[in-house]
Amino acid sequence: MKTTESLAIINPSNISIPIYEKLALGVIAIAFLLFSLAFFNIYPFQIYLQLLLSISFLTIGSIWYTFLLYSKTPSGIKNNGVFFKNISNRGVIGWMLGVILTGFYILLYWFPTYLEGLIHLFDPLSYSIRGKAADNWFLYGSFYTIAVLLLGFKFGFKYRHNRYQLVRTFSVCFFQLIFAYLIPAFLIKMNSPEFYFTYFWPLKKEMLFPNDLQYLASTGSLGVFMVYWTVLLALVGVPILTYFFGKRWYCSWICGCGALAETAGDAFRHLSDKSLKAWKIERYLIYSVLVFVVILTILIMGKFSLERQHFRLIFANIRQSLWFPDWLNIFWSYRHWILPNPRK
């Protein structure tokens, strides 16, 4: 069996960092120091001040560093040395960063109490936009949005020669900030259901589950609008957009997951596994998840409508309506799946 020997490449990235870049990175490091103080429940400043300082340092440091990194050279593709740099080639720093991030997720999902110090730090922001104290998901959403915005700026600056990337990056940042962060927060403040206009079935399978829809509809006219939004986009909007634009319209223009991958993930995208095997695994996974979600949704809907004897009504309607305007009747009869039945 032949193996591919790698080129004996000397490490050319041991170039000393210029002084201003050092300063900018220092500012970012101080922001992280402030965050870790909060993590350990150490608050040398008032909470709102500590939050303000942390976020400002992070923002100023990253924007400054981005400028220093990319403004000296003419615009164009900038990937020099991604396979030499420790952080972007699975080196010591890359590995530790991986462990820290994974650990953070474990804490966030299963042991949020350990994050109370950090969560507390975001109380002032949470009160002002959501009208209640921060929780682990608000902490996560805030970090996530900050990462997308700051690293989105870095991405945009790096790819400034390419208008497609600029428009697209603006789009993902916009949808993350407005639709995945601020609107759900304001909805909570207004005592409406926390709703994400940019999540769709089958990505979020519950969105077509009748009980969830019924609950949404029961919360008032905004809720009814959300129901129509959910159903129309999942069943009509998503297929049509995907037919014309491919999956990119969602994955790299709107989706929060894509937003992080296309901004923070840009420095690491060369590490993705491009083997045929990886591609196969991905295909098996996505299609089995899709089939599972479709079947599950159909079963739940079926059970729901059998219980309420709506099936017969629908089929009666289908039989009667062989020409177009009568299809509206069917939709009308479907409304009882979704809207609370006034006769009950």
């Binding site: 032949k2 591919t4 004996a8 050319p12 593709i77 020099n80 040395g81 991604v82 060369h270 045929l276």
Partner: protein, 435 residues
């Protein structure tokens, strides 16, 4: 099964060279037959993309990222790989003699040995630190010598030269670029485009020196320390890159019965003068190239096309090589370049040109057309992409410049949201040519 197909089952095809040409031939013979296929090559275990060599040095990719097929591919497709050097070929007994004196028989032989770098003729070229860039081994050499390098001098303003400049630049090694012509790639690019690239090189702080020639390489203890240019200027440096072109890599076949000139001479079916022996890719020289094509075209896609064509012929469908209308593309640092059809550096008699350049001087469009019937003959593009099939079709159908300028937006192939310049060009055209 016909007799011919039956014979194909046992045919023993040997290919020398695992570059794009040899590998394309192997893959297509496998698609079309059950022949036994052996690829002998000395440079690398597996086929890799030579055009991406620079990106390994620059840290964008690793060697394995430049291999278009995964390592299991060859066994699965029953293509045997042999990493050996071919010393000679005995065409009478149909035997290939390897460096270890073992030999291999063939029924059909495809020679796809690519190019080698041209040598420069002056004092000091034998010194350590003088090298060209073609093979993987060159890259390893250049990589090693880059540690602590004070300056690299590159001699010869062509595509590999500018890549080498970008490579050193990516590692913050100062570059002096000696170009004999009055501007970069002046033998190919018209002056406006060539000047654009010159400006861009200066913008990247490449010390581009136009016109002086290298006269001597000065060494100390066997190593390069400086060069002398025809201007008598001495430039201290630790590396001299010789990039003055390539020529067919066929030395091991000289003085055999095989007819060669610069390359191995082949007819339009890529057959050599010896039966059952074919030559493709960089090492082949066409005896009768198509109109407006050269007899040797050392580029990637011609090797691929020849590989496909030769596979057809060997597997029973005799096919001639007709690459169609000339096209090519490259990238000079941040500026992409495309050409379709015929663009001469100096406008020939009977040809007119319309040239538009963006005000920032990094994008341009040139369309050349015949002054007799106004038929468009070529496109030259900097920083803007055009569609290959549309340009080819327009040139083939001899569409007039009026038509082309009017329909220019159909040819644009830039990504969505990119600024479009068709109206500017249309205006320019009206001003210049509509008396």
């Amino acid at each position: 099964m016909s007799i011919f197909e039956f014979i194909l089952l046992f045919m023993n095809v040997v290919i020398i060279g695992n570059g794009i040409s040899g590998i394309t031939a192997a893959r297509h013979i496998r698609k079309l037959s059950n022949a036994s296929i052996t690829v002998i090559s000395e440079e690398a275990d597996y086929f890799f993309s030579r055009t991406a060599l620079m990106y390994i040095y620059m840290g964008h990719m690793r060697l394995q990222d430049t291999q278009p097929y995964e390592n299991w591919f060859w066994e699965k497709n029953k293509i045997s790989l042999l990493k050996k050097r071919v010393e000679s070929v005995d065409f009478t007994t149909k035997k290939i003699i390897l460096q270890d004196h073992s030999n291999i028989n063939y029924d059909k032989l495809i020679i796809a040995t690519g190019s080698k770098s041209n040598n420069y003729n002056c004092k000091g070229t034998e010194l350590e630190g003088v090298r060209s860039l073609y093979h993987l081994q060159d890259l390893t050499y250049i990589d090693k010598i880059s540690a602590g390098l004070n300056r690299a001098v590159i001699v010869g303003g062509g595509l590999i030269g500018v890549e080498l400049a970008e490579m050193f630049h990516s590692r913050n090694i100062p570059v002096t670029f000696l170009v004999r012509e009055t501007s970069f790639w002046g033998k190919v690019l018209p002056p406006e485009e060539a000047n654009m690239i010159d400006r861009h090189l200066f913008e990247h702080h490449i010390d581009l020196k136009l016109k002086p020639e290298l006269t001597e390489i000065i060494g100390e203890a066997g190593k390069v320390v400086a060069i002398k240019a025809s201007t008598d200027e001495e430039i201290s440096c630790g590396f001299v890159g010789i990039t003055i072109g390539v020529s067919p890599n066929i030395d091991f076949l000289k003085f055999s019965a095989l007819k060669t000139n610069k390359g191995i001479l082949v007819n339009e079916f890529l057959e050599t003068n010896i039966e059952d022996v074919y030559a493709i890719g960089d090492c082949a020289e066409l005896e009768n190239p198509d109109q407006d094509r050269k007899s040797i075209e050392a580029i990637w896609y011609t090797g691929r096309m020849m590989g496909e064509v030769v596979a057809q012929s060997i597997c029973g469908t005799k096919t001639a090589y007709h690459p169609g209308i000339w096209f090519n593309s490259a990238k000079f640092f941040d500026i992409e370049y495309q050409v379709y059809g015929k663009i001469d550096p100096i406008l020939p008699e009977g040809i007119e040109t319309i040239y538009w350049e963006h005000k920032e001087g990094k994008k341009s469009i040139r369309i050349n057309f015949s002054s007799v019937d106004k038929a468009v003959i070529g496109f030259n593009l900097m920083g803007i992409r055009f569609r290959h099939n549309i340009c080819e079709q327009w040139i083939k159908e001899r569409k007039t410049i009026d038509y082309v300028v009017k329909h220019l937006q159909e040819a644009n192939f830039d990504p969505e949201f990119f600024k479009r310049y068709e109206t500017e060009i249309q205006k320019l055209y009206l001003e210049k040519f509509n008396q």
